[in-house]
């Protein structure tokens, strides 16, 4: 499998505080790569840098060979980012929101309608898509945003806590959507503090704490290496 994303020695300072202390990993084509760690570990900072929202203090990030510092616009064309606490424009209907976002990825190909149809299928919100986003529940907004993130079939979908704040049923649905899209060759970089969720979703994971990656591997490899029944125990053993 070809490497889609390369992260090498990524560092980030917020003033004097070093949030990322030189992390390195790569994401391959069609792979779901999970960054797991406790709150404040540096997961969101890493994702925000790759999503071009934050500038890096050091290191290198490449997507399809394009350097982030030199070609941030190439990143934006090929990624899709779902922030942890994202919202949608409350005055727009669900379908209008999807159309608005789809148009940014359709400069000449005329694929807006195709993107919208795909998003409608992913979101599964039916007729409610014709209602204003302001009337949606939190779960509905999250599904709409996930549909928005996946509708263009980006080279890399960056999902920060994709099931954050969702109930069990909605979380299961969202996980299934992510899994099915990865099967179509889409690469996913996701973060979560829910290690069991990441274990279920990810092909490979990186355990991150205090800005450092402590271990990388498939969930199975890590469990075997640390003789643990699940990733939560793996993490506890590494930290201890």
């Amino acid at each position: 499998m070809a490497v889609v994303l390369e992260v090498e020695g990524l560092r980030k300072f917020y003033g004097q505080f070093e949030a990322l202390k030189g992390i390195s990993f790569e994401v391959k084509e069609g792979e779901i790569f999970g960054l797991i760690g406790p709150n404040g570990a540096g997961k969101t900072t890493a994702l925000r840098i790759i999503a071009t929202l934050l500038t890096m203090s050091g290191g290198k990030v490449k997507l399809l060979g394009y350097d982030l510092k030199q070609n941030p616009e190439k990143f934006r064309e090929n990624i899709s980012y779902l922030p942890e606490e994202a919202g949608a424009y409350r005055h727009l209907t669900g379908i209008d929101y999807l159309r608005f976002m789809a148009r940014f990825y359709d400069s000449s190909s005329g694929k807006t309608q195709e993107f919208i149809e795909r998003a409608v299928a992913i979101a599964g919100l039916g007729e409610r898509l014709r209602d204003k986003v302001g009337t949606y529940s939190k779960g509905m907004v999250r599904k709409l945003l996930l549909a928005r993130a996946l509708m263009t079939k980006p080279v890399l979908a960056i999902l920060d806590e994709p099931t954050s704040g969702l109930d069990v049923i909605n979380s299961l649905e969202v996980r299934e959507i992510i899994k099915s899209y990865a099967r179509e060759g889409l690469s996913v970089l996701l973060s979560s503090h829910n290690m069991l969720e990441v274990e279920y979703l990810s092909d490979r994971v990186a355990l991150i704490d205090q800005g450092r990656i402590l271990a990388i591997g498939t969930p199975q490899e890590l469990k075997e290496k640390y003789e643990a029944p699940n990733l939560e125990v793996v993490f506890r053993r590494i930290v201890q």
Partner: protein
């Protein structure tokens, strides 16, 4: 371009919401209603002006005076009683606002040039401008009558001398010079006319600046509050396009709203001033002769100046919008901008900005929004240096603000920069 128009349309749709439309319609209605009401009331007051008269003289002179009052559309309610207090009681009963008491022997006194006092009583039932109107009108009538009577007396005594020459041995012919053009007119009349004509310019300017700026600040603050900014910043469109779309949308909606408000304001003002085009009738040729009307190129310069001021305000508002954490804090962040607009606005209404002391002028000139307030006068008085300085200065300020804005939007600061009021610190 397609991506930019997509964003621009979204921004405009976001700004034109139910609240805005309701507020525009409501304001228009209020302006129109008050304007109409004032006009109707003024007309009604003009057509029926009732006054009570107690004529204790009943000479041919007093009857003539009352006939003349009737000629200027006064409806006279004459009391038959001979008692002043009784007349006032009747006037109160009839809800009259103004009573004249003509003393006995008025006609005879006029003949002998022995003045008698006409008493006037005004029932002050409110403190509105119209409450003392009758008394003022009568004062003018009395002055005219006095003038006429003294002229007649002088003619009789000194038939070889013109009464007017006798009373005013020194006369003046007033000329106004504007640059190299000269016209016979009163300087105060010209100044008053120009003030009435140009009073709308600062009002429009202040409204556009405040309205558009508030929209930009709120638009960015709402993106932050609704957590949509992060997603927007990762879509394939340049950061400068995001900023430009927000600024342009706010500019367009601000301009349209201001024009609507202005139309309402004109309706409202007409209630007080009447149609300005009619007032202009007499002075118009003199204004033209003095070159005090804006030419096409002058109007263009004024538009450029207004446009640059709007751009400066929008750029500054964008930076302030980034500092806002949510919609509520955005409302307080408009204050510094409001002050920068209101200071030159009020000063331009009450004083000549160029006549201020040097330190005050430096402060005023440093505020970019001061320049368009001075542009109209600079154009009319051909102060090209002032115009050029204003335009270049505003352009420079705009470029600096855009560079700062672009820098903020292309770095982490767009997400991390905020103003914390409690700690009173700027967090970068």
């Amino acid at each position: 371009m397609k991506k930019f128009s997509n964003l621009l349309i979204k921004e405009i749709r976001e700004l034109i919401n139910k609240q805005l439309i309701f507020s525009l319609i409501f304001t228009l209605f209020i302006f129109y209603f008050i304007g109409q009401m004032t006009r109707v009331e003024a007309k009604r007051a003009e057509t029926s002006r009732r006054l009570g008269v107690l004529d204790l003289d009943r000479s041919s002179f007093s009857r003539g005076l009352l006939d003349n009052l009737r000629l200027v559309r006064f409806e006279i309610d004459e009391f038959e009683t001979g008692d002043k207090e009784e007349a006032l009681r009747l006037a109160r009963q009839k809800n009259l606002n103004f009573v004249l008491v003509i003393p006995p022997g008025l006609g005879e006194g006029v003949e002998k040039l022995e003045p008698r006092e006409i008493e006037t009583y005004t029932f002050l039932r409110s403190f509105s401008l119209g409450a003392a109107r009758y008394s003022e009108i009568f004062r003018v009538i009395l002055e005219t009558a006095n003038n006429y009577l003294s002229n007649e007396a002088l003619k009789r005594k000194l038939p070889e001398i013109s009464p007017d020459n006798l009373k005013k041995p020194l006369k003046s012919r007033d000329f106004v010079i504007v640059r190299d053009k000269k016209a016979e007119a009163s300087a105060s009349a010209i100044a008053a006319f120009m003030y009435t004509q140009s009073i709308f310019v600062p009002i429009i300017l202040a409204m556009i600046l405040i309205y558009s700026s508030q929209m930009v600040i709120s638009a960015i603050a709402m993106e932050k509050q609704n957590k949509t900014l992060e997603t927007l910043l990762t879509v394939p469109i340049s950061r400068s396009s995001i900023v430009a779309a927000k600024m342009l949308a706010a500019g367009i909606v601000g301009l349209v709203s201001t024009l609507i408000y202005l139309a309402g304001f004109r309706w409202y003002m007409r209630g007080f001033t009447g149609d300005l085009t009619q007032v202009a009738g007499g002075l118009a040729p003199i204004i033209k002769e003095l070159g005090l009307s804006l030419t096409t190129s002058g109007s263009l310069i004024l538009l450029i100046s207004l446009f640059l001021a709007i751009l400066c305000a929008l750029a500054l508002a964008t930076i302030l919008g980034v500092l806002a954490e949510d919609y509520r804090s955005a409302q307080s962040l408009i204050m510094p901008l409001l002050l920068l607009v209101m200071i030159p606005y009020f000063l331009s209404i009450f004083t000549d900005l160029r006549a201020l002391s040097w330190p005050a002028r430096i402060v005023i000139y440093a505020i970019p929004f001061s320049h368009p307030f001075m542009t109209t006068q600079n154009i009319l008085f051909h102060n090209y240096r002032g115009i050029a300085f204003g335009i270049i200065y505003m352009l420079a300020v705009f470029i600096v603000l855009v560079i700062i804005t672009a820098r903020i939007f292309s770095t982490d600061r767009v997400l991390t920069m905020k103003l914390r009021w409690r700690r009173r610190q700027l967090v970068l």
